[in-house]
Each structure stands twice: as C-alpha cells, then as structure tokens.
C-alpha cells in the first residue's frame, strides 16, 4: 500500500494559524515509522487527516495513487486502523467481544467469520479470558489491547497509534508494545505518534514535526542522534544517545563504552 501526502495544509475554522503548513511525505513499503514533535506541533492533526477524520484545507492525499475523497473514504478506512490516546474514550460497547465486533459489523463481515475473528484476535492480544468482561472492570492497558484487537480484526495494512501508550503504566505499555512488535514482524506498516523518545527509538524511520512543518524525515537513529535538531524542536534525546553525545562532546575516547552505547541505541 502506498500513501502520498502532497503539500497538505490544514487549519481549524476558528483559528487563523495553519496547524499544518505544507506536509509532504511518502510511505510505499511496510515500515515502522514514528512521528515525533512537541505538543501543538500538529502530530495528532496529521493522524486525523490520515484516517479521514479531518480533510486537508489544501493539498491532496493519495492512497495507492487514488486521491482520498469523501466517496472512497469508507473503502480506504478498511486499510487503515487507528488507536487513540485515551483508553476510556474509544471503547464503544458494553463488553470486550462486542467492542471488537463493532468494527467488523460496520465493515459488513459475515457473522460466522466475525465470531472466528473475535476469538482469534483475543488470543493474539492475550485477552481471551476477558471476552465477556465489562470495560469498567478492565485496566487502561487491557482496554488499549482491546482497542488494537478491534483493529487487528479488520486486518488493515496500516496501523496508526496516536500516543496510544501515553496513559498506560510501564507494565501496560510493555504489553502493548509487544503486540506492536508482532505486527511489525508480520510486515504491517505502523505509524507511531509519540513523545516518548525511548519508544521512538524502536522505529525504523522518523518524521520530526515542528510548528506544523516536517523538519526532518530520515532513519530514526539519524533523527534522534541530532542534538541540535531535537533541542530546537523542544524534544529530549533517548537516554543512551544522550550519554553517547555528551561523552563525544567532551572528547571522551573509550571506544568500548561509546560502541556499547551506540549499539544499544541501534538494537532497540
């Protein structure tokens, strides 16, 4: 699946300022991409445009060379799934299985197939024993796992995670990222919007947003190792790279230490 953003601009009606000021990028192969940027840099607006919840005020989006518009939106949403930040505000149904079925029902999947898929994805996210549970009895991490299961059931090619782990505790986050890594193995495209730099370090490619513009789109390690770039866009460096960078600055020359730090950043 190929996605092309061509000079996309966006402004909310009430504000004069452009939230996005001409965004262009291409995704044409399965990749794990992180989009990073400070609060208000336009990250989440970009995510909403990607799934057609907002339409650009200027510019176009092409999915498989077809321009995204109101008519084909419904078709295209079958290929793009999104998990939002707040676990509580995206759980629609009164039980886990019903919530997963919600998207399947909307996509007109046959009932027998639906029942099978609900069971399958519950296994994948290790939530089988919670099948009939009410959302109020689940933790935030469990709710997010249900949210991603609901998208897994549709089996799209592209997964967008809009700060999906930011409201979870470390355990919940770890469990959630395990599922994301599994998706990556399966060759899905994952677009992860995050302000956790250690999480961004997991990805292959990184798009840095600042005040509605892309200021860098490169290999993750290149973006996250650029101290000036991160500082100017009010972002922190991942911890191992920070130590690496500081040591180099101060002409520290123990190759063993420097290599170990660099390797650990790459290995993630």
């Amino acid at each position: 699946m190929k996605i092309v953003f061509d000079n996309v601009k966006f402004q909310y009606d009430s504000m004069k300022r452009n939230v996005l000021k001409g965004i262009s990028f291409t995704i044409d192969k399965p990749e794990w991409i992180s989009i990073i940027g400070h609060n208000g840099s336009g990250k989440s607006t970009l995510a909403k445009i990607l799934v057609g919840l907002l339409s650009p005020t200027f510019g176009s989006i092409y999915v498989n060379d077809i321009e995204l518009n109101e008519e084909n939106l419904y078709e295209i949403r079958k290929h793009i799934g999104i998990v939002f930040q707040n676990p509580d505000n995206q759980f629609v149904a009164t039980s886990v299985e019903d919530d997963i079925a919600f998207g399947l029902e909307n996509n007109l999947i046959e009932r027998e197939e639906m029942i099978k898929r609900v069971d399958d994805v519950l296994n994948l996210v290790s939530m089988k024993e919670f099948k009939n549970e009410m959302p109020s009895n689940l933790s935030g991490g469990q709710k997010q796992r249900v949210a991603i299961a609901g998208i897994l059931a549709i089996n799209p090619e592209i997964y967008i995670l809009d700060e999906a782990t930011s409201m979870l505790d470390p355990k919940g986050r770890e469990d959630f990222l395990k599922i994301v890594k599994m998706l990556k193995e399966e060759g899905k495209t994952i677009i992860m919007i995050t302000h956790d730099m250690n999480e961004a370090l997991l990805t292959d490619r990184c798009i840095v947003l600042k005040d509605g513009e892309i200021i860098k789109d490169a290999k993750t390690i290149e973006c996250l190792n650029d101290y000036e770039l991160l500082k100017s866009s009010r972002l922190e460096m991942p911890s191992s790279l920070y130590v690496y960078h500081e040591l180099k600055e101060k002409n520290y020359d123990n190759k063993e230490v420097l290599n170990a730090l660099w390797e650990s950043a790459l290995k993630k």
Partner: protein, 287 residues
C-alpha cells in the same frame, strides 16, 4: 507533626464478607517539612488510595491516622474537621480538568482560600503569589482556564493547591502526558518548594528517572502494603530483587550502568550516588 499512620487498614466495602483490603497494615511517619517522597508501585497497588487517606478523602477502616495531630475519623461536622486536615495537606489530582471550573484562572486559584475562610483581599493576594510561583504569566490571569494548553492547566491546578498554603504537597502522576518543557518547569518547582520553602513534597509516579533524581525517600507499595521504605539509592543499588518483583522499571541511568557493566570493562564505584545521566557522563570522564 506531619502525617502519622499506625496499623492502618482500608477497605472500600468494609461490611462485605471476605472484602479485599486496598491498604493493609500501613505504618508510616511523614514529617511536615523538608521531605521529598516518591510513592511508587504497580497500578492497583494502593498508591492513590494511600494519598487520598493523607487528605482525609478516605477514612481508615481500622487503625489510627493523624495529620498534624488531628485524627482522621468519621465526624458529624465534616467540613470543619476535615478542612483542618486539608489545610495542611494539599492534593493535586492527575487530571487538571477535575479541578478547574471558574470563569477565570485567578478566580479558580482563589476558590480554595475562600473556602478556608480567607477574605477576598487575602485570597486575591495568595492567588497571585501562587500563580507567580508556578510561573503563569499575568496576562493569563483573566482568561478562562479552558482555553489554556494542557501544561498551563496543570500549572494553574497546582497554583490552586499552593493557594491553600499546605505544609505537605501531594502530586498524583504530575508528569503523565505532560510535554518535556512543562515537565522541566514542574520538577524545578517541586525542588524549590522542597528546598527553599521547606515543604514536604510527595510524588506518586511511575517515572523512575524522577524518583532517582529528585526523591530523598521512596515508598514502594505492593498489594496494599508498604514493601519498601528507604532511599532511592538503597532501592536501585542494593535491592534489585524488590525492584524486579514489584514490576517497576529501573531509572535510565541504572539501565545504562547495567549495560556498560555487561558490555564493557568499565566499573562504577557503587558508593557514588548516580542521580541522572549527567552523573554518568561525569563519572566516565573522571575515570
């Protein structure tokens, strides 16, 4: 006199048979000045319940709890008694949206002092100095709190608690979902409240980097009991097994020390307290 808990148990449904206790056999002393405590533990371990107990939002099911010498118990004249406690202990909730409701930022910060029987003039003065303390610009005093950014809302909600002039300040997950620049501001504020104003600061947090760098004392909750109560250094250096069992993360700096220990021949002197990444850099260079 601070906070003093003796054999405190707490259950949400004390009358139900076989009820599960959210807090079990808690013994704790917290001084009213100069403490910097981090309360850590998994979700559901009882951290937040413990904090709401300090604020008399919960009453112990059994055992004795005193705040500034006042016993926390069910009383008829709720407000008078509980407010005596709440004057000493300020609690900042994780969601700023739970707190903000007035038309302007300034009025919102004045809400607490007015409830504590201050005059309008006094309240105004306290509110202004509290907002100054959290570095909210005067141009924002008259705007509606709902037009603020997430970070500004957080700062205003903290000012709302500072205006009560408590000795002990509790912050529930203050840095969750907060952007790095506001986070820095917050941490600076906590430190100055602790070191300059000699307040006792209690953080409930999952962020072990903050625990390691800022806290002087760390209380680890597990299944409703206190399973560890000592310094962060003691926890992260001497008690790795406890860290592992409680399912908590290590601070980034200790992760790097472990990495270097494993991959290189560099060894850190265990007697030196590593508080942040900067310390590691210094140690490596001085070596």
């Amino acid at each position: 006199m601070g906070i003093s808990l003796k054999e405190v148990n707490f259950s949400y449904n004390p009358k139900r048979k076989g009820t599960k206790y959210a807090l079990k056999d808690i013994n704790l002393e917290i001084s009213p000045s100069d403490e910097f405590i981090a309360i850590i533990g998994e979700t559901g371990s009882g951290k937040s319940t413990l904090a709401s107990l300090f604020n008399a939002l919960k009453i112990p099911t059994s055992g004795e709890a005193y705040v500034s010498g006042i016993k926390i118990k069910k009383v008829r004249k709720r407000r008078e008694n509980y407010n005596k406690i709440r004057k000493h202990v300020g609690l900042v909730f994780q969601m700023s949206d739970y707190q903000l409701f007035e038309e302007t930022v300034l009025k919102d910060v004045m809400f607490a002092p007015l409830n504590f029987k201050k005059t309008k003039e006094e309240a105004l003065k306290i509110a202004k100095s509290s907002l100054e303390l959290v570095e909210i610009d005067e141009s924002l005093f008259g705007v509606s709190p709902f037009t603020l950014s997430g970070g500004e809302k957080k700062l205003v909600s903290i000012a709302g608690i500072l205006a009560m002039e408590p000795d002990i300040l509790i912050f529930d997950e203050p840095t969750a979902g907060i952007d790095p620049s506001t986070k820095k501001k917050l941490l600076k504020l906590f430190r100055s409240l602790n070191e300059i104003k000699h307040k006792s600061v209690i953080l409930i947090t999952h962020d072990m980097n903050i625990v390691n760098e800022y806290a002087k004392r760390v209380i680890l909750m597990k299944d409703g009991t206190i399973s560890f109560d000592s310094s962060p250094y003691d926890l992260f250096v001497n008690n790795r097994k406890i860290v592992k069992d409680a399912n908590i993360d290590l601070p980034d700096s200790y992760k790097i020390i472990d990495l270097l220990k494993e991959k290189t021949s560099v060894r850190f002197n265990e007697n030196i307290k590593i508080k942040n990444l900067g310390n590691i850099v210094e140690e490596l260079i001085n070596e």
